[in-house]
Symmetry: C2
């Protein structure tokens, strides 16, 4: 089991590395066989190569994307959830994507799985 402090640190680093465009730093937060399902219901990416491809696709949709914590993380030593706003800069406009991430963690606080809950219908200009 991870500690609450490890999980909080991983989530903070997840937000910071993604916001900074730090692809390798972000990928380093996941276990070797981690899964990403973003948004929930879409095809699951597994392992560094597929999660890296997910990063590349996500980043290609916007000039910049920053993640802003709204609430959490809350949960236990194995899994946690947090609410955030993803703010995507697209051609001079900022679009806000309200998102809730649910993650499981390994004993070192690395992300074993990520599932992202968001709805296209809730995306709005800032």
């Amino acid at each position: 089991m991870a500690t609450e402090e490890q999980i909080k640190a991983t989530v903070q680093r997840y937000l910071a590395t993604f916001s900074a465009g730090d692809r390798e730093g972000w990928l380093d937060l996941f276990t070797a066989d981690a899964t990403v399902e973003d948004p929930v219901g879409s095809e699951v990416c597994k392992g560094r190569d597929e999660i890296g491809a997910f990063w590349d696709t996500s980043r290609s949709l916007a000039d910049a994307i920053t993640l802003h914590l709204v609430q959490g993380p809350g949960g236990n030593e194995r899994e946690a959830a947090f609410a955030m706003e993803a703010r995507a800069e697209i051609g001079g406009t900022t679009m806000v994507v309200p998102t809730i991430d649910v993650m499981t963690f390994d004993d070192d606080g690395k992300i074993a799985s990520q599932r992202a809950f968001w709805s296209a219908s809730a995306v709005q200009p800032a």
Copy 2:
């Protein structure tokens, strides 16, 4: 699959009935064999009797509890997540419990499962 409108209506009613102390109205939002895991990692309650017992225990801990939506729900036609604050009135003091609920839904928008992410360490006076 439920519609996005059905899921939003169920979540709104979930917050409203719980806040109003409407035990039967709240229980009516769940399917017959629904599960509740609150907080995540604790024993899973299954079916109306066990979920009703969970209600009774929860309500016995405070003079009143109201739920306030912070973000969401977001997701798809089968599952959604939302962030809220549970505000518990205990002997004249209001304690705030930041909580994220993750739910699955049946075709009629009834709750098939609920998992609540919150941490005792995050509970604070209002």
